[in-house]
Each structure stands twice: as structure tokens, then as C-alpha cells.
Symmetry: none
Subunit: 208 residues, 4 copies
DNA sequence: CATGAATGAGACTTCATTCAT
DNA sequence: TATGAATGAAGTCTCATTCAT
């Protein structure tokens, strides 16, 4: 960080810049926006952005880390609770959907600019991203050991499928391909877990 | 297109540029690479790229359309065949995985630069992308009508989850998070369908 | 000056800033360093630098004038003393070398940033710099009148050669091209005068 | 170099940029001028400067090397000729003065921006600069071995004094402190050698 | 006196695109 | 078709200076 803010007011300014960056990144995309757009959106002078951040990159890195750390902490906490595997996945799915509900622009930025950006920020945060996948895989592994989940589906693979399904639903909202709104968010939480855990097939068919 | 190639040699040149672009986009990312990088990779003069393409954007657009049209055609064809819904999804999953197996760089480019790029190419190709989702959803809808698939999971939603699961597996390969290789590709085809159609839960648990 | 310091403590602060500036200018060069570097080096707040100085330029100007005035005073004094011309030049050479010995960083700054900076500070201080040359030339002129020095070498020219020889020796030390240390400093004082006054040629050859 | 020019016309353009840079650097100083000033002076588009050079720095580096290599070659050649030591130094002094006469702006740039720039370009070209000093010192060393020059003055030291005397004369011209013109140039060539080799003192005085 | 946040002009550099040959 | 020189708009980052407290 270019300069650690010392006063309360300074911290607020830094926050304002980060929040403005979310809006601008979400609206225009990281590459298409200019640092001056962020400054304008935040209502601060151009130079102040560089007073608090070393570069445009660092702003996105900061945004990603802030949110991803919450996610990692959540998954970690969920895993320690006495829940059934499916409920653990349900809690994670709910958290991610709620993250989107709470701040869709931030999640858009994270998904569009980081978790799929194999040549730029995704690479930078590979370790942190992988950590989330591994923790989910761990939940699956435990479920397989206790017999709740099928053993023939590799845990790491299952984790990717699960996470991918959720992220794609968010992508659907982001692109305007799926309907948004309270009820849809709640429904999505259930459905994604029902899909990945219960499967799309009806019971009789599955019982084939 | 800047200039439709007439001669055989010209068509080859254009192809060489497209193929070079795939490698360069995959290696450096669309934004990070320069048009001169593509020319160098293709072994042609800088200006020639502009003889065959109007812009850097058009190169990516062309690459995407070429591949996506094949995908759309495949899904369309699959849907007309007398297959069980799950086998249709299996065929689609196989096609996508094979696409990656056949040309991982191209698929990397499509996933990283287009299907998740909500502010740039993703927006440009939104119609085509949606078309694929809708066709998959249509398969699900029919399956639900005939009772093979559960009706409580919205077809469009199911389509997104299905597609997202596959794309995430490809993303795992792209990022080096999942192991690649013939056997893994084959296994992935089965597992993704087993996960989404059959569910992660073991029968007894599901039967609960 | 931005604000003439009144209290003893204030004077010390201003001195600390000047001393810090010498170190920073010597280490990074005037252009490459930032005002904040000076503040950091001095251990004072950024803004305080501007409390004592109007600009970054003024700091260097102050440093130069402080030292150059001592030099001018010294030359002036030397000239009034009842010394032989060569001894006068010897005294000047000694003063300059001692200046370097006493504060090599300051002399580095003066030579590198001022006396050769034809487009910036050198131009600003042209009058003062010329004054030194003229006083040396005056010594030579008198020596020529009294017959101690050859008349065929223009006094002004001789002054430049003399001063240039010394400054180049200092440059050699600054660049690490000539060995430093007490004995070298002492030796340099003698040699530069011996070179310029006595000449490099051995007597027989000169007597040719 | 950013791009090696291939055609005759391209080489001319590159030359035009270098020549323009000399004028601009000499007039405003390296730091004070902008790349656009160089482009304007050369009558080319801004971007073309970067087509031929990687950076503003590289332009100066190129200018320095071009000239300095000629100097090194000249000194080397002079040293191989069957001349008396003093005549060798005379040849070198003449070459430097002629360099100034031929292209005073280039010499100004080299002296002001490189040979005394201990923190930037001087450091970059330290090796090449030292090489010149060493070759001159070598001439002195040989002269001392054969008895032409006094042995009590270290050769390296003498080389610095000699070179410094010349450079200071050029500096005098650059600053407008010494009169320029054909006759002065010719006179300077002789005087600098007479000063450094013969000494300022008149014979009787030297015969002390 | 002292602090460091705030400002914004300015410069380098990049690179997509055009053009003359 | 083919080449690569030429163009210039645009964006990031720097940093001297100002200002509110």
C-alpha cells in the first residue's frame, strides 16, 4: 500500500476510493476504466488514489482479498460446525449468493476480473482461490468417508463442479440471463445444492 | 472482415494468423498482447494482420464464432437424436471436453476472454452464448415433461449449473488446479454428468 | 526563504533538513529524489520542508551558496596574503580538497548538480561561479605581471585549467575512479599544483 | 534499440531524431525536455521516436556511445603512432576541441549530462569513461618510463588533471565564460597542453 | 511549528490503426 | 498481397506544491 492512512477521515477516504472502484470496475470493466474514472466516482483528486494505492492493480487486489478472506473464513467456520455435508454446501452456497445479493457489483468484479482471469489477477491470487476449492473438496471428502456422498466422484472434481455451478448462476445474473430478486436468490440457494447433491434426475430414474 | 481471401495461399495465411492469435491470446491474454505479437507468432508482417482483419477485436470475434458455431451445431444435432436426456447432456459434456482436449488454448481463450467477459466480448456475443444455454435448457425442459428430470429445478437454472460445472472443470485445467491427461478427460466427461444428473449424494442418503 | 526560523530549535530543524538534503541529493541525485525523501531522511514531516523552504530548488540553492560563499571568502583571503602565486593556488587547491574531505557528499552535489549544470542550477549561479574563476585568474595575472608565471598562457584560461584539474580529481573520487583516503587527499593537493604549475614534463625535457 | 531500421530512408529518420535530440538536450537539458520536443524538433510524429528508441534514456545513451567510441578509437590510434608523449596529449586535446568545434551541442550534452552525472548516465557509462582515462594514463606512464615525464606525479592522477583541464575549458565555452571562435579553439589546444605539460610557471621560477 | 492528506499538471510510454511503397 | 514505417490518442504514474488542522 502506498501510504497507510492514519486518521479516521483518511480511512474513510480510502474506503470511498475502494467502493468507487467497485462501481467503476463493474460498470466498465477493469481494463476499460481509467484511474481518473475511479477518482471522479469517489469524488477525490486524481492523485489521492495514488496516495492510498500503489497502482490500479493494487485496488483490485485489495478488493478481491477483502472479500475472499471473508469467504475463506466462512467456509472454514462452516466446516467446523456440526452440520450434514449437504447443509455445509448449502451454507456455502447461501453465503456466495448472499454476497451477490449484498454487493452484486463487487461479486461481478471478482468473478469477471479475478477468478477466471488466468493470465492476470487469477494467476496472482491462485493460492487463495485454490484454498477455497480445497476446503470445499475437504467437505466432500469427509462426506465420502462417512458414506453420505458417493465415492466414485473425486472430491476435488466435485468441489469444482459445485463452485462452478454457483459461479455460473451468478454469471447468469450478471449477464442478465437469469432473473434476479429476493425470491430468485433464495430459490437459487436451494436449487444449486439440490442439483449438485440430489442430481437433476428424478428418483425413479436414479434408482434405475 | 477486412478482405476476404481469394487464393488458397491467402486462406492459409489468414488461418495462420488466427492460429497464432490463439496461442498468443492464451499465453498473454487478449489485453496484454499486442498485434505485433500475433504477427510475429504467425511469421507475417505487422501490416498483413490488418489486411485480413479489421481490428484486434475482430480476430477474437472470429475465433469465438468459429468455435461457438460448432458447439451450437453440435448441441442442436444432439438434441435431434433419439437419446435419453442424460445421454444428451453426456454428449454435450463430451463435446466440450473434447474441444479442450483438441485445442486447450482456444478453449482457454474462449472461456477467459469471452464467456465471462461481461463488459466486453461476452456482451458482444451474448446472443450466441445465450443460445447455447437455451438449447441445453430445452433438453432439460423436455426431460422434465417426460418425467426423467425433476420438475422442481428450473430448466434454465439447471442449464446454467450444468454448463457452469463443465466450464469450471476446464478452468481447473487451465489454472493447473486439476490434473490433465487422456484418462482425466474421459473421467471428467462421466463425472460431470454423474454429478449434475445423479447428484453427489449416495442413493441411500438421497432416498432418505 | 519560506520562513526565517526564529528559535534555536527551529534553526536546528532547518539545518537538519539541509543536511538530509545533502545526503539524499548525493545518493540519488537532485532530479531522482523526492521532497519526501528529504523529509524522511531528516526525520521530519513532509510539509515541514515547505515551512522552511519555498521549493526543492531553494534547498539546493541554499546548499550551494553556503559552501560557495566560504570558497569565495577563502580565495579572497588567500589572495590578500603575502604568498607566492603557486602557494596561493596551493592554498586554494587545499581548501577544495579539504572541502571534499570534510563533506564529500556536499561537494559531490555541488559539482554534479551545479557547477556543470549548464541548463539549470549552473545557470542560476553563473555569477558566483564566475567570480571564483575570475579571482583565480586574477592571481595568475598578478603572477604573470611579476614574472612568476608565463605570459603566453591567458590568465582566464589558466584559471579554468587549474580549477578543472581539481574538479576532475574530485570527480574521480566521486566516481570511484581514484583512490580516496587521507594520504591520497594530501598527495592530490600537491600533485594538482605541481601538475598545473610545474608541468608534467621533467626539467631536462622542459629545458629543451 | 526498439526497432532496427531497415531502409535507407528509415536510417535517415533515425539520424534525424538523434540530431534533433542533440539540439533539444543542449538547449533545455535532458531532464527539462520532453520527448515531444524531440519529435517536434525532428519533424516526426511522437510515436516514431519510440519506434526507433526504447526510451528517452536510450537516445542519450546512443548519442554518447557514438561520440565516445570515436574518442576511444582516436586515443587508441594516437597512442600507436610514433609521437612524443606531449604530442600524443596534444593530439587528444585537439581531437576534443575539434569535437566541440564541430558539434558544440553534442559535446555540451555529453559533458553536462553524462561525464559528470554520477547518479545517472555517468554511472551507466562508467566503464567507457574510465577506459578513456586509462588510455591517457597509459600514455603518461610510458612517458614516465622513458623519462620524458616526471615520475612523482601518478599517471592516473595526471590523466584526470589533463582531461579535467580540457573539459573545463569546454565548460567555459558552454557557459559563455570563455571566448569562442576559430582562433580561440586553436589557441586552447596549445595552451591546455602547455599548461599541463609545461606548467604555468616560467622557466626561471621552475628552476627554483 | 508541525503534520500528512489533498491536489492536479505533466511526462513517459504503449500500441491499435493507417499508409506509402 | 505484403511490408514495416508513421501516426497520435490515451492512460498510468509521479511528485512538487498547497492546505486544512
Amino acid at each position: 500500500m502506498a501510504s497507510a492512512p492514519r486518521t479516521k477521515a483518511a480511512i474513510d477516504k480510502q474506503r470511498a476510493i475502494l467502493d468507487a472502484a467497485v462501481r467503476v470496475f463493474a460498470r466498465q470493466g477493469f481494463h476499460a476504466c481509467r484511474v481518473s474514472d475511479i477518482a471522479d466516482e469517489a469524488g477525490v483528486a486524481y492523485g489521492l488514489v495514488y496516495h492510498y494505492f500503489d497502482s490500479k492493480d493494487e485496488i483490485l487486489n485489495t478488493l478481491f482479498r477483502e472479500r475472499w478472506n471473508v469467504m475463506l473464513a466462512t467456509i472454514k467456520e462452516v466446516d467446523t460446525e456440526p452440520l450434514k455435508p449437504r447443509d455445509k454446501l448449502q451454507a456455502i452456497a447461501s453465503f456466495i449468493v448472499d454476497s451477490y445479493r449484498h454487493d452484486p457489483e463487487l461479486m461481478k468484479v471478482i468473478i469477471v476480473e479475478v477468478t477466471r482471469a488466468a493470465n492476470s489477477f487469477g494467476q496472482t491470487h491462485l493460492g487463495e482461490i485454490r484454498e477455497a476449492y480445497l476446503m470445499i473438496a475437504e467437505i466432500v471428502t469427509k462426506a465420502q468417508r462417512e458414506g453420505t456422498f458417493k465415492r466414485e466422484i473425486d472430491a476435488e472434481f466435485a468441489a469444482m463442479a459445485f463452485y462452478g455451478a454457483i459461479e455460473q448462476v451468478l454469471t447468469g445474473w450478471i449477464f442478465g440471463l437469469l432473473p434476479e430478486g429476493e425470491e430468485h436468490f433464495e430459490r437459487a440457494k436451494k436449487l444449486v445444492v439440490e442439483t449438485v447433491c440430489g442430481g437433476l434426475q428424478s428418483e425413479p430414474a436414479a434408482a434405475k
